[in-house]
Amino acid sequence: MKKKSNCKVRHGGGGCKKLWLIMRFSVVFLFITLLTVSASTYSQQAKLSVKLKNATLKEVLQQIQNTSEFEFFFNHEAVDLDKRISLSMKDASVEQILSEVLKTQAVSFKVVDNVVFLVPETRAVQQDEKRTITGKVVDLTNGESMIGVNLVAKRGADLLTGTATDTDGNFDLLIPADAEAIVVSMIGYKNREIPLTEKGEYFIELEPEMGDLNEVVVTGIFNKTKESFTGTSTNVTHDELVKVSPTNLIAALEVFDPGLQLIDDNDFGSDPNRMPEILIRGKANFQGNPNTPLFIMDGFEVSLESVYDLDMNRVEGVTILKDATAAALYGSRGANGVIVITTKAPESGKVRVHYSFTGSLEMPDLRDYNLMNAEEKLEYEKLSGLYGSSNPAQKYELDEEYNRKLGDVRRGVDTYWIGQPVETAFNQNHSIYIEGGSDVNRFGITGRVGLTDGVMKGSYRNRFGLGFKYHYIGKNGLTVRNHLTVDHVKSEQSPYGSFGDYTIPNPYDRMKDDNGDYLYELSYNMTNPLYEASLNSFNKNWYLEVRDNINLEWRFNDHLMWRASGSIGMQVSANDIFRDPRSHDFDAIRDSNEEDNVQKIGSYKKIDQDAYDWEVSSTVNYNTYINKHLINVGIGFNAREDHSNMTGFNGTGFVNSILNRPNYALTYQKDGRPMGSEATSRLIGGFANLTYGYDSRYYFDASFRIDGSSKFGKNKRTAPFWSSGLAWNAHNESFLKESFIHHLKLRASYGVTGSVNFSPYMAQTMYSYDYGSSQKIYDDRFVADIMALGNPDLVWQTTGKSNLGLEFGFLNYINGEVNFYREITDDLLVDMNIAPSMGFSSYKQNAGKIRNQGYEISLKSYLIKDPSNRFYVSVNGSLLHNENEILILSNEYKSQTEGTSEVMRFNEGESLSAVKLIRSAGIDPANGKEIFITPEGERTYEYDPLDVAIVGDSNPEFKGIIGANIVYKQFNLNVNFRYRWGAEIYNGTVADRVERANPRYNADIRALEERWREPGDVVYYRNISDYQSAVHASTRLLQTEKMLQLANLNFEYRAKDQLASKLGMSSLKGSFNMKDVFRISNIEQERGLIYPFSYMYSLSLRATF
């Protein structure tokens, strides 16, 4: 519902030409009009003659209008126009005539210029006795000022005059002196009646209506009121999002929903070119398939990449749908949850320009790395026996080498290798949004430049976007919306390569030789990663995406609505990888001294992709409300197609690195062929939804969908999905109406959704010309071979989701929600090994069932709520506990994995994230060897893989967010911590970087300081001289994680309106944001081995002109 704008009407001279200015607006409207017109005596002396018999008042007024300059202005409800009168007057003034005709009605009149106002008598204004009251209206829950709130002064039961608040929530109202109170009202809020006092200034807080009447759950298909929704959803607004992360939408979402997890990528850290991995509730896949949720933007499916590159300033709000209630409408795509994004719709009015800037300093977080310095490293080498030898001649050489290195160390060579490839990056994002238009035709233009430099030198992801929105909102019930967006993203990987390469070089090695050139090789024949970085190699990507969405909405009447929408998107992208001919990559070729070497050194790989997708959908929705019964029925269908096409080639032989375009390649890669691939998938589905509600207390909801997809076998082309739910709004029951419980809702739902996570052609036995051996030609014929055994019986992986939820709120101070859920995923896809005599080693099969169950809790409580000073303090917390269990595995799966190592296979009754290790008694102080414990409890040095047992679960016991929000006057402080507790994690990096650390390479300081050296050492890590034997995965390196991290700290200042308007703006906000600045964990492990993690400080400005 659109907020009512400030209701002021001006009458210019002759602005109203017609007689019947019958106002269908509220009485308030009339009074404002009266007050804004100044009295004068225009043409009041005109004499009129009227002669009518048994005419209606309407006819009388009509005649006056026709024979004079007068126009009438009144509320048609206040005047009885059909009242019949007889009248005969000659040369009378208009006042005389009107007093005569209106004498039987309780209506008085007033003549201003040539306009006659008819006013119900009891409400007549006493012009002389008036006073002005001023004030401000704010939302009780958050202190935000409220725009467009209606205020009406009243006396007894009579409404006198009114106004509405302006964009800053302020109002001033001229009221008759005898007014007794003002009524403050706003849709979605409780009405308030404020008695008028002597004082002229008022501060009014409005309390939102119970049951969140105004809150809507945007499902992307049929929107529901929050009150009638039987499922679990989390709604987040734009303002809330930017407080957490001003530029990264996906990172921000984690704070608002305990069920949504962002998986820490321990390898790729904060790589801006790495897509984040998202998981809603629990994992349900055997073979590494990510459980990425479905993203819907403005009603259409979009890719994770599009969301990742989306400008936050375009987002109006996000809804996260976790259980089956709404997800069932997405059928085969809904099993992993649905994230619905709504972009801002242009508002009418004069043209407004919103500008937003975010500048951030992003710093590499190398605090997890405790590497040895030059001196320590040399000592470590000595202790590990690198310079020991029984051969005197060799010993002499080794001593010489040691002394040379020691000399370097003494001279002060101590290269900080890991500091070389990283830098503090400055990122900036500028975004502009222009909107305006009439109530009928509105437009919005967005523009955006986002430059993100990663913390690895030379890596970046630059985003450019333009968008145009046009909305036609017809008075006849037709709405047309068209959104056109063009996005361009350019990115490059760091030429410095993998960060891990910088953790290995020895600190006593110099980077450059005496001439200032990077050394080609370091000690122990290690390549110098900085030499590689100094070359002209590159790995670049770009894409251009154009998308148009059109949406037609036709409201036939208050009950029936039809909507049709279409979307088409095209994407072109390219990847260019150039390897400098001087690179170490070509060492082997250079050494071979073959004749055609020059044609093999240096390479250029180019891959071009183009893709398109389209989708059409249509829905019809009918709703009605009769005698407390609410019925809402919707049906619809959608169809979509995704198509992508790739071609590429490899060129080799580059004479130098400056000629680094593909056309300077001397030839194609030897024995290489151009690359190409193509993929198409299609989906069609029909769906229906029914919601029934009784008296805002009981709700029932059911959805059904049938989906067909090209990804499935011919034998199983379609699949049905459904859900149903119940909700009870206990706070609407009479026995709770006036109690301290302001919100209490109980709901339950169950449904079946699906997920398609295999490639389009696995269901069919396919022949391919581009498969298998590199030799594809036989006897001058291109051959076509069977790719894999198709499984025509492959079916959708389905997930049955049940959810039981309780929402509660007390005294308007505490709000919370608890959800218990159980999700059973059936027909999990597994690569089944089959007998070799079948001709193939494996094929895809549906083989298993996994259960995820757990609970989510979220709470928010106000500690201080002082609206008059605009001072609020609130705390919030959330928690997720998830348990995972494999329920059923097919007999084929069990028999095929029999006898294989326990570590490699899954068993019924286990968790997917079970940690399987051998028990360890620690390091023997006598000899520095590890002691293992057999299942029988015996101690042994021997490692037997069959002794492996489940010793823990890498899934945390609890995880969630703890945060606080403080609002004081113009300031807002928001802080959130992320915590994880109880995950049992095998610290693999310790095994690799401490115990198996090759003493020729640099390693964690613990490799030197905390290892066994001599009998009697009671230490955690094994013998310092043993680096060659394998480190067996044992409970010794198993740790129970306790982690706390500052997710964000945001400090916001909103300029006072006077200040903003002085600067020529209508609003101005500035904020400072810190992200991931602080982290404590009891597990010391090197994180971000390919790309380091980072922390960030940002400054944002948001202004509206």
Partner: protein, 132 residues
Amino acid sequence: MITRYIQWMVVAAGLMLVSTSCNDWLDVTPESSFSREEMFSTEDGFVDALYANYRGMSEVTMYGRETLWGFNDVRAQCFDLQDNMYFYPVAQYDFESSRNKAFVATVWGQFYNRIASLNSLLENWKRRMLTS
């Protein structure tokens, strides 16, 4: 006016839906790969699928090496092998060694793979003969 447009659009959309069968529309095959039916619908396709077997048999894992002079001749002790060489466990008749097992699995796997491919060929060829 607009109402008229919408009516036409509904009619057009309806016609589109009726005229295209859902199942056909969902039957997507990749452009560089072919279903069995498509593959054997032409003589060229048949020959290409047949030649895949000649190609396969000429690979090193089959008659290209292992079953001609590689794996077999090693076992016949035709080569002098040192203990760090790839074939060494095979020459030692160390049947339990993982390398020997891998050889056996690959060679037999390849033969069975050819048989599967030829079976598919024959099956489809027969079907075509019957229908034409």
